[in-house]
């Protein structure tokens, strides 16, 4: 009846075999092979970065210098777009039909389902009118982004700017930044990047097969919130910063003012400057290109990057070192015949000063007196041990922050230049140079170069009678108002306090009766020193350093106005306006009759005769030039004449016509 009975085992066997084969395969892809799990994760999960708001920067009075402003990108999802009034739409966005078609086609090519940017960075006004009618344009929506905004359009070089991270930055950040991220490129934005940028958050979002966000992964258990960047309080005082920028308009130069009792930088003017708002928004690229091509180099941060021979403004420092070393006393006198006789009449003085002591030598800027002092200093360790004396002098100069970096808190600071004995050894061979060889250093010329920041810092040190706080631009970080520890430490310069008074007496006389008498401020005792840096390619650079008031000093200042003449003519008046504005809040009528508007309106920009030369070449050239000048000065009594001449001629020829109008020039002695 039931034939082929045994065949049930064959059939059952087929069932079992095939089901086991399938189970084996399932075992392989589910248990053995891990790839599928990762594929599934990649399918659905996207890590979306949450960008925090960048920290704002305030000035010392709490005024906002930079903050974030919302702007709006108009996004489009082509698939969701329904017919609408294209003409009206184009009018609202300020584009034409052709532009509309082009953008829409581009968005469609990118993806019909995903949002792409239709129009970038709409201003608030344009957005407002668009937003009212948003509902008429299905498929379009605004996406909020934020940009930096500078209410005062001031302090551009201090603030710096942010830009998209370059490949180099991305590489250096070990994966923190990715293309398209914004990062501080210069200024405070760069040096305080890690504080300003805040902490990025991560959102793990799930996406469906159409790439439409569907919600968060694991209810956000692995998400992190973005933490906004911290607030920075700058030491700048916006009132004198703006005044300084106005005074310096149409001029090339710098103003640096420091509060001596804290090292806080009150004013940081680099001129010509630019409106930082230019480097934000839709026109950023064009504007930046224009600024880069500007022959006056607005991106050059002159207060810390430009180097000038301090000229006569160096004399108080010389005097202090000599006093400390016991070379001279305040009573040491010198009979000035109008030139320095001990060195073939060089350097010359402006006129016959007669018998001068320390204070009057400073007040009248007697070159002979300081040449005498310098020679004594250089022979302090014996006439044949110039090198040792020089090294000890150099060390003393360095203590003032001159020739070394002051560690100001924005990047690209220059250390200025105080030559080393090795430098002279290379040019005159070891032991081949004496005090007279390098005599131009006595009056702040020769190879000496200081940044305006260093000049101001020396004034702050004098105001403090022997110490300074490292100058800085940020006085408080975040809500807890943290300040970097290095900015709270006193740096002593190794000069006993009692030596300052005679020098300061001289400096007060400079303003009260001397070369800066026109800049005297009624009711405020200001101590200062003018300087003139000679410029072989045009008018001399005008320098003025000062601090005020004499008792309980509140502000130390250095002003450089390039191509403008003597220190007393331009730099000193500008400094006096800043000082008075800061101390008094207004500018009073001056006995000398000077008033700010005159200085504001005057255009002192040098004619531009620029041959494009790259930075490296310029640097090399200026070094050779410096050498050449130094050699020229001492050629009369040089020991190795033949060597000198060949060394001088070669570089000097190359330099001709190469230097730009903006760069500070090495000058000859006065």
């Amino acid at each position: 009846m039931n034939s082929f009975f045994e065949r049930r085992y064959v059939i059952a066997g087929i069932f079992i075999t095939l089901i086991l084969v399938l189970l084996a395969r399932l075992f392989y892809i589910q248990v053995v092979d891990d790839r599928y799990f990762l594929y599934a994760q990649n399918n659905v999960m996207r890590r979306i970065m949450q960008y925090p708001a960048r920290g704002p920067i305030l000035d010392r009075t709490g005024k906002i210098m930079v903050q974030n402003e919302p702007i709006y990108d108009i996004m489009v999802i082509p698939k969701q777009v329904k017919p609408f009034d294209t003409v009206e739409f184009c009018k609202l966005l300020g584009i034409d039909k052709e532009g509309f078609d082009k953008r829409f086609a581009k968005a469609k090519v990118y993806s019909p389902r995903l949002a792409s940017v239709f129009e970038k960075q709409l201003s608030l006004q344009a957005y407002a009118s668009f937003q009212e009618r948003l509902s008429e344009f299905p498929g379009f929506y605004p996406q909020r982004r934020s940009v930096r905004i500078y209410p005062d359009s001031a302090a551009a070089q201090f603030l710096g700017y942010i830009g998209e991270a370059t490949d180099a930055i991305i590489k250096r950040s070990n994966g923190y930044y990715s293309p398209g991220d914004y990062v501080g490129i210069t200024g405070v934005e760069k040096s305080y990047e890690t504080i300003l940028r805040g902490q990025r958050g991560v959102q793990n979002l799930l996406y469906d097969s159409h790439n439409v966000a569907k919600g968060s992964y694991a209810n956000g258990a692995y998400d992190t919130a973005a933490v906004a960047g911290e607030r920075l309080v700058s030491s700048l005082d916006m009132r004198i910063q703006r005044l300084g920028e106005t005074l310096m308009q149409n001029k090339v130069g710098s103003i640096v003012a420091i509060e001596p009792s804290s090292g806080e930088i009150l004013c940081f003017v680099s001129s010509p400057t630019y409106d930082p708002n230019l480097l934000v928004g839709r026109e950023r690229g064009n504007n930046a290109a224009k600024l880069y091509k500007d022959p006056y180099k607005p991106f050059f941060t002159r207060p810390i990057q430009a180097k000038y021979p301090p000229g006569s403004s160096f004399k108080p420092l010389s005097a202090l070192i000599a006093l400390q070393e016991g070379i001279i006393t305040p009573q040491t006198t010198y009979l000035c015949p109008g030139r320095y006789l001990a060195n073939n009449g060089k350097p010359k003085c402006t006129h016959v000063h007669g018998l001068v002591n320390l204070s009057s030598a400073i007040a009248e800027s007697c070159n002979g007196y300081f040449a005498m002092v310098f020679e004594k200093l250089m022979n302090a360790h014996g006439a044949k041990n110039t090198e040792s004396s020089f090294d000890s002098w150099r060390n003393n100069v360095n203590k003032f922050g001159f020739g070394v970096k002051l560690d100001v808190d924005i990047p690209s600071e220059s250390r200025g230049n105080v030559p080393t004995s090795g430098f002279y050894d290379r040019y005159y061979q070891k032991g081949g140079w004496r005090s007279k060889t390098i005599l131009s250093l006595a009056i702040g010329q020769g190879e000496l170069e200081a940044t305006p920041l260093q000049l101001a810092n020396i004034e702050a040190t004098i105001a403090n009678h022997g110490f300074y706080y490292k100058p800085h631009l940020i006085k408080a970080i975040g809500d807890k108002a943290v300040i970097k520890k290095e900015y709270t430490l006193k740096n002593y310069v190794g000069i006993n306090p009692q030596y300052f008074e005679p020098v300061i007496d001289g400096m007060q006389n400079v303003v009260d009766h001397g070369t800066a008498v026109g800049s005297k401020i009624p009711g405020i005792v200001m101590c200062g020193k003018t300087g003139t840096a000679q410029n072989p390619h045009g008018k001399n650079h005008s320098l003025f350093v000062a601090y005020a008031p004499r008792d309980n000093p509140k502000i130390a200042i250095a002003v450089v106005v390039e191509n403008s003449g003597d220190g007393g003519t331009w730099a000193a008046p500008i400094a006096s306006f800043i000082v008075e504005q800061y101390l008094r809040g207004s500018i009073s009528k001056r006995p000398s009759g000077i008033y700010p508007e005159y200085y504001i309106e005057k255009n002192l920009l040098p004619d531009v005769i620029v041959k494009p030369a790259d930075k490296a070449k310029l640097k090399a050239d200026s070094l050779k030039k410096a050498t050449a000048d130094s050699l020229k000065k001492v050629k009369a009594d040089s020991i190795k004449k033949s060597k000198l001449i060949s060394a001088k001629n070669k570089p000097a020829k190359k330099v001709d016509g190469q230097l730009t109008a903006m760069l500070p020039k090495q000058t000859d002695d006065e």
Partner: protein
């Protein structure tokens, strides 16, 4: 009365019913997971597929109960009638059917419900086949009987092929197992297996290599068993036919199959790799199942299915949800239940005194087996994409009801196994 009442349910094979219920419930939960969205949380929301599936399950249970209440002898007696009606419906669907995704397989019943006659053709064919083969004078080994039995299977098969529904067409092929059980020569199975192997190999490797292998194989057989002249003749004829077939494969493949079928086969055989196009569905399905790992992602946590990376998630690719959310553990449970069910059906079939019941039982087992294997093999990339539901689990009223009817008729016959002989 009491005695009568008892006889309806007394002999019902409750183990099978429990497996059936388990699979239905697993199906319902996985459909819920597959189409789940936050707006329709309730399992009984009748706007959704899982809500509807609940109704289908309840009504399937009603249908099952009704079948158990029927007189067994009706089933045998009405088998030809069922068959004729289904064949007619299959013709109607070709003329006036509702076309979904290129398949003209549905008849609109109104109220959003559609009937798929090909589903009912399965048990109707089984019934008629059982009835025909259980007749005393019919033997499968007899060519005439074999041709008639083959005709019973081929008629609905051809009509379904016209829809065209490749999956269901293939399912009818599985009835060869029934014929085998009833005496069909084992060579049929071997030849079918051989032809399938040759077909696939001819697509994958150079035809000449296959011929070399075939000739070598024939030589070996000749050397081993070459004493019998009949064997030698048979071997040579077989070899010639096999070589002929090998040469026909490529033309058959390129002209006999439609392009969409061809690319699917190419994808499975690895002849092409197009994970964004043809291979997308299967690849996503594999990812879904594979990403479940050992214990799965948990109920409603499957990202592949929830975010619609997998197509037809509630019907043909329902196993993705099982694999993704319940992992290998879930796969073992589901596959285990099916295997258990199949072996149970074989056991039930073999304990029948009546050949009609036994033959029908093998039909049921073959059809369920074929569905399971094709569906799972497709989901894990062992077979080309063929639209075919997973029995009791996939969403859909027609499919669930037809499997219920298929299975419960067997249970009814089984509960009556001690009763009259229908032969």
């Amino acid at each position: 009365m009491n005695n009568q009442q008892r006889s309806f349910f007394f002999n019902v094979d409750w183990v099978t019913v429990l497996i059936y219920l388990a699979l239905c419930v697993i199906g319902w939960f996985n459909i819920h997971a597959a189409v789940y969205d936050e707006d329709h949380r309730s399992m009984l929301d009748f706007d959704t597929q899982y809500g509807k599936q609940f109704i289908f399950i309840i009504s399937a249970l009603v249908i099952g109960t009704v079948i158990l209440l029927l007189e067994s002898r009706f089933l045998s007696a009405l088998a030809p009638a069922f068959y004729v009606v289904t064949v007619l419906l299959l013709v109607v669907v070709l003329v006036a059917g509702h076309n979904v995704g290129g398949n003209q397989a549905w008849i609109d019943m109104g109220g959003g419900f559609r009937l798929q006659p090909s589903e009912f053709a399965k048990f109707a064919t089984c019934l008629l086949l059982a009835r025909y083969l259980s007749a005393t004078n019919v033997k499968v080994t007899d060519p005439k009987s074999f041709l008639i039995a083959g005709g019973i299977i081929l008629l609905p098969m051809m009509l379904i092929k016209l829809q065209p529904d490749d999956g269901s067409t293939l399912v009818f092929c599985s009835l060869i197992l029934v014929l085998y059980r009833e005496g069909l020569s084992v060579y049929f199975l071997i030849v079918i297996g051989l032809l399938a192997t040759l077909f696939v190999s001819a697509l994958l490797v150079n035809v000449w290599y296959i011929i070399i292998v075939l000739v070598a194989l024939a030589a070996l057989l000749l050397f081993l068993f070459g004493k019998n002249r009949k064997f030698v003749t048979g071997l040579i004829i077989g070899l010639v036919l096999a070589i002929g077939f090998v040469f026909c494969v490529k033309p058959l493949y390129f002209h006999g199959l439609k392009p969409h079928q061809r690319v699917r086969i190419d994808e499975v055989l690895g002849l092409t790799k197009d994970l964004r196009g043809v291979g997308y569905n299967q690849n996503q399905s594999k990812i879904a199942i594979g990403s479940g790992r050992v214990w799965g992602k948990g109920y409603l946590q499957g990202t592949q299915t929830k975010y619609s990376f997998v197509p037809e998630q509630s019907t043909d690719f329902i196993f993705c949800t099982v694999g993704e959310e319940w992992g290998f553990a879930g796969s073992v449970v589901v596959m285990g239940l099916y295997l258990f069910l199949l072996l149970r059906i074989v056991m039930i079939a073999e304990r029948q005194r009546a050949p009609f019941s036994r033959i029908y039982g093998y039909g049921v087992a073959s059809i369920i087996f074929c569905h399971v294997v094709i569906n799972i093999a497709m989901a894990i990339g062992y077979m080309p994409v063929i639209g075919i539901p997973l029995p009791f689990i996939s969403y859909g009223g027609s499919s669930l009801w037809s499997f219920t009817v298929l299975l419960f008729i067997l249970l009814k016959l089984d509960s009556n196994r001690m009763g009259m002989n229908y032969a």
